[in-house]
């Protein structure tokens, strides 16, 4: 019994809640923006297709398509805002489109980025699906408004009868949200009451429809206008990778500013103590201590260099040149990097190249190693390590090269090995300049 009463109150009381007003407002905004929005986007896309029929028109077509995607993104932002105001649910915006790579002109780069942005096309998809939703939302609002007008008829009847006195207006018509082919006119007091009852039903229908449409639209916005699963994963991966690189740098810096400084101060004090030492036994002890501290400092230097070589701050080319100077095989480095990759990529590129270099020294019996670094093609960082050794290197299971390939693939990089038996060997590593989904 209680249950039935509760449901009845819930059903009939819905129009009097704040939520109903918010749903209706959201539906009104959705209907007003959704229908024209879809029309504009659809017309632009159809025009784009039409223009693309000819070769010259294809350029205009691409521009129009990009414009359509742009409009869809803007509208998407408006819809996300509307949803936030109506329901308090915040759907975060997807990452901005990545500018096209390897294209010198900024405008063209942005155009390519726009056209290849999957999130942009999802906005277009939303705009298309939104059309029927927007119509339904508009209907919900219309039904509610009509219902409210109908509810006011008894008042009008009390005030004017079925028409204002002295006027020659037609009798009041019953408004109805469904076109049933007939016009009902209010002529009697019970008729006015019936109309009011009908209006109340219309309001109820409108309010509940508004609620359903709001929920449906919210789901659509969440799944099409928010970040996609892939872009969300890319974003969090970029955060994880950059965070790890940053943490390693901090460890290195802490070592440098902490333990290493303290140990250097110990050597200084031991040295001064030795100068003041007045017997050989004491001097011997101090020398032994000094040797231990030096050993500890050398260990720390090696560890710090394995975490983040300080010279990497001066750039990849300098850091690799430093590695090369300590190589027993002559290494020639040619670097052409107009811009620096992000720190995490730089660190990965450094350790990869150092490992490739070590591999070449260990296995190739080469007389000459050449490292080329550039970023021309497709705006990616490309590192080529070539040697004139015996060849036969392969990224088979369990090999060091396979490990490198795996490591590189964590940031969408690739590693290719060309190493026929008898040589020469060429290993090409390609890394993005920045991790996709990460900040700039």
């Amino acid at each position: 019994m209680d249950e039935i009463r509760r449901v009845t109150v819930l059903l009939l009381g819905a129009p009097f809640t704040r939520r109903a007003r918010r749903d209706l407002r959201f539906c009104a905004v959705g209907a007003i923006t959704g229908v024209p929005g879809f029309t504009v986007i659809a017309v632009t896309l159809v025009l784009a297709l039409a223009f693309s029929a000819s070769v010259i028109g294809a350029i205009v077509g691409l521009l129009l398509a990009a414009a359509a995607v742009g409009i869809a993104c803007r509208l998407g932002a408006a819809h996300r805002r509307a949803l936030w105001r109506a329901t308090g649910e915040r759907v975060s915006a997807p990452a901005p489109p990545q500018a096209g790579r390897g294209e010198p002109r900024r405008l063209v780069r942005q155009l390519i980025g726009r056209l290849r942005d999957p999130d942009g096309w999802r906005s277009v998809e939303y705009a298309a699906l939104k059309l029927p939703v927007a119509v339904a939302e508009g209907y919900a609002v219309a039904a509610t408004v009509i219902g409210l007008v109908d509810c006011a008829y008894p008042l009008a009847w009390v005030a004017f009868g079925n028409r204002p006195v002295g006027s020659n207006m037609k009798p009041l018509k019953v408004l109805f949200p469904v076109d049933h082919g007939q016009h009902w006119v209010v002529k009697t007091w019970p008729g006015a009451l019936t109309t009011a009852l009908l209006g109340a039903v219309c309001v109820l229908v409108g309010v509940w429809l508004a609620r359903v449409m709001t929920l449906l639209d919210a789901w659509l916005i969440r799944s099409l206008l928010g970040p996609s699963r892939v872009s969300e994963l890319e974003r969090t991966r970029a955060i994880a990778v950059e965070d790890a690189a940053w943490a390693l740098r901090r460890v290195e810096r802490d070592l440098h500013d902490g333990a290493q400084v303290r140990l250097a101060a110990v050597t200084l004090n031991l040295g001064m103590a030795r100068e003041k030492a007045d017997n050989d036994a004491l001097r011997e002890l101090l020398d032994a201590a000094q040797a231990q501290v030096r050993g500890a400092l050398a260990d720390l230097r090696r560890i710090a260099g394995g975490i983040h070589p300080p010279v990497l701050d001066a750039g990849l080319a300098d850091a690799l040149a430093s590695v090369a100077t300590a190589c027993p095989i002559p290494v020639r480095i040619r670097a052409d990097l107009p811009e620096r990759p992000s720190p995490a990529i730089e660190t990965m590129a450094y350790f990869c190249t150092a490992e490739l270099l070590a591999n070449a020294i260990k296995h190739s019996s080469a007389r000459m190693i050449e490292i080329k670094i550039d970023s021309e093609r497709m705006h990616a960082l490309r590192i080529r390590v070539a040697d004139d050794g015996v060849g036969g290197a392969a990224a088979h299971r369990g090999s060091g090269l396979e490990g490198l390939a795996k490591r590189v693939s964590t940031v969408d990089g690739t590693l290719r090995v060309a190493s026929p038996p008898g040589g020469p060997t060429l290993v090409t590593v390609e890394l993005p300049m920045r991790i996709r989904g990460g900040g700039t």
């Binding site: 400084v261 050597t267 040295g271 010279v311 100077t325």
Partner: protein, 212 residues
């Protein structure tokens, strides 16, 4: 000898100041970053500067950049870079800045006080002082010339590259100066280097050879 120290770790800054004062040198300023170092050098015109490579604000290579600027602006002031690690790239840039009046030592070298002070004096006098680590990294290079050197000749070459004089090398290896001269002549011949009289040009010749 008037010295300016730039080192952001207080314990080392104070330790160095005390050590140099004990040896009768005048530390006229001890600062913590590159900006202050440049100001101190232009105000004090010291004989020599001891500069850490990594200093605030970016903790990368501001010490090196300040050193190069000082070598350029105040040729009479020698610069000794003082660091936790040896980067041969930095050595190269330092030596490209001109002849002499430069040094690059690991911080732990201060443990051998006499050696450290004499290296500092050498730099102040326009000579060169390079860390043995630099030389040992460079000596890894494969080279028929280097391979033909005897062990003793390699030792002499390393000390020469550090910036030591003939008598300094003789003391270190407990040899007579004449023997050292003979080793040097033979080394230069094997590496096809022109023997040059000035200590510093000798260092440069050796390093240029090692870096080729």
């Amino acid at each position: 000898m008037r010295v300016v120290i730039a080192e952001d770790a207080a314990v080392l800054r104070e330790g160095l100041t005390r050590l140099l004062a004990d040896h009768g040198h005048d530390v006229c300023a001890a600062v913590t970053d590159a900006e202050a170092l440049r100001a101190a050098v232009s105000a004090q015109r010291p004989d020599v500067v001891i500069a850490d490579i990594r200093m605030p604000p970016t903790h990368t290579d501001e010490g090196l950049r300040a050193a190069l600027a000082i070598r350029c602006g105040f040729p009479a002031t020698g610069v000794l870079l003082f660091s936790q690690y040896i980067e041969t790239r930095y050595v190269a840039r330092l030596l490209e800045s001109g002849t002499g009046g430069v040094g690059y030592l690991l911080k732990e070298r201060v443990g051998d006080v006499a050696d450290f002070v004499s290296a500092l004096e050498r730099v102040a006098a326009g000579g060169t002082a390079l860390d043995p680590e630099v030389i040992s990294q460079l000596l890894h290079r494969p080279d028929p010339g280097l391979a033909s050197l005897t062990l003793r000749e390699r030792e002499v070459l390393a000390l020469m590259a550090e910036g030591r004089s003939n008598s300094g090398i003789a003391d270190e290896l407990v040899l007579s100066e004449g023997t050292v001269e003979k080793h040097i002549a033979s080394t230069f011949m094997k590496l096809s280097l022109e023997p040059e009289p000035g200590g510093n040009r000798r260092v440069l010749a050796v390093l240029r050879y090692l870096r080729e």
